[in-house]
């Protein structure tokens, strides 16, 4: 259970073995490029490692690492889009979610990069990952109502962006 108090390279190695596969899979799914996913996994873990070494409860660590990986990879995609490479709109969409229509999902992922981290976390969780509102609320530590409110706001602003409004 508790991992002891002093983070160090041995502990980091142990945790990297444990949670690295999940981060790698997450990056692979979002970036769809093995080399980029490898680099992103390393970068995400370098960000996480000092804090992650102090915790070892998967119920806390996994959603946290997953969220950091998601944000990191979305930023990578945003930067790619700016350089004319594969853009964020190419994300693989969730199927069979009980959320908005496929049209809404396509619209949403094409402009994710315009939004702040908190809003993106909700939009990606529901629209890309197909998570239920309740599950996502638990992962993000916010209420289900907040998830729904952020999602509605995101879709409303996304439609405005797609319609050419500033």
């Amino acid at each position: 259970m508790a991992g002891g108090a002093v983070p160090g390279s041995e502990r980091a190695s142990e945790l990297y073995r444990k949670y690295g596969p999940a981060v790698f899979r997450r990056c692979l799914r979002l970036l769809r490029d093995r080399e980029a996913a490898k680099d992103a996994t390393q970068e995400v873990f370098v960000k996480l490692v000092r804090d992650i070494a102090k915790l070892d409860d998967p119920a806390i660590v996994l959603p946290w690492a997953y969220r950091v990986a998601t944000n990191h990879c979305l930023n990578v995609l945003r930067d790619r889009g700016r350089r004319g490479e594969q853009a964020i709109g190419d994300l693989e969409l969730a199927r069979g979610t009980d959320g908005p229509s496929p049209g809404d999902r396509h619209l949403a992922v094409s402009i994710l990069a315009r939004f702040d981290e908190g809003t993106r976390a909700v939009a990606v969780g529901v629209l890309v990952d197909g998570m239920g509102h309740e599950e996502l609320a638990g992962v993000l530590g916010i209420s289900r109502k907040t998830v729904e409110r952020r999602l509605a706001r995101f879709l409303e602003r996304a439609r405005a962006f797609a319609g050419g409004e500033p």
Binding site: Q42, F45, R50, K54, A59, R67, D98, M131, G141
Partner: protein, 244 residues
């Protein structure tokens, strides 16, 4: 009836602890999800065989402890706070059996480093007067976080973010850095304040804390929230009784 297919994150949790997962029955009946698990296992193997060996050096290097960030002690305005609490960069951290104090839409957990490792402390706990502390917060919604303390001598100490650093938006989880208590016996209350945006200044936060700071030990023990301009902010606080 297998129900709705789980998210990738739920499957990741299953792969970490299959024996504790509620997904076993779903996976037994859902061929598509078994295929997802098989693909995830293949990718996990790819990580172990290729990614881990190529990247572990950088990860281990990042894990090595830093030295104290002593320059904080030289920063203007820090001297008074340093009397009460010295900021650390990375003190030893929390165990996972934390204990939180739930305020209005915000939960604050305080961890004290002890000989047996970090332990979460309850509100009103007696702790060694020179304890090292770490913090964890669970805000509901957006949170530009401030953490401060007030002791019976009226000292207000800024604990997060450090002097000269603007507050950042914190997700639920451990708060970087930490603090060391000043070694003086008496009550000290830790406050976590979630501002709704980045506009709230340290001046406002400190101003609200002054009403507690002027009230002595009794006020420190009873003032669970800061008033004034912070009365609408989400807050949580935890009292420590420092023992020699």
């Amino acid at each position: 009836m297998t129900g709705r297919c789980p998210s990738d994150l739920a499957l990741e949790a299953y792969l970490l602890e299959p024996e504790r997962s509620p997904l076993v029955s779903h996976l037994g009946a859902c061929e598509a999800c078994r295929a997802r698990i098989a693909r995830m296992n293949e990718e996990g193997e790819e990580f172990r065989r290729f990614v881990f060996p190529a990247t572990i050096d950088a990860v281990e290097a990042a894990a090595r402890p830093r030295r104290w960030r002593w320059p904080y002690l030289l920063a203007p305005g820090f001297a008074a706070a340093a009397v009460a609490i010295a900021l650390l960069v990375r003190p030893p951290g929390p165990a996972d059996d934390y204990l939180g104090v739930k305020g209005r839409d915000l939960t604050l957990s305080v961890f004290v480093n002890a000989a047996e490792g970090a332990r979460a402390v309850p509100d009103g706990a007696a702790v060694p007067a020179a304890s090292q502390l770490r913090f964890q917060v669970r805000p509901a919604g957006d949170c530009w976080l401030w953490i401060l303390s007030v002791d019976e001598a009226g000292t207000i100490s800024r604990l997060y973010p450090p002097e000269g650093v603007a507050p950042d938006r914190r997700a639920p989880g451990p708060v970087p850095g930490g603090a060391v208590l000043d070694g003086l016996a008496g009550p000290e209350r830790i406050y976590a304040v979630c501002a709704p945006d980045e506009k709230m200044t340290w001046g406002e936060v400190k101003g609200a804390a002054e009403a507690v700071a002027t009230g002595g030990a009794g006020r420190v023990r009873t003032a669970r929230e800061l008033g004034g301009s912070l009365s609408a902010a989400r807050q949580a606080s935890l009292l420590l009784e420092k023992r020699p």
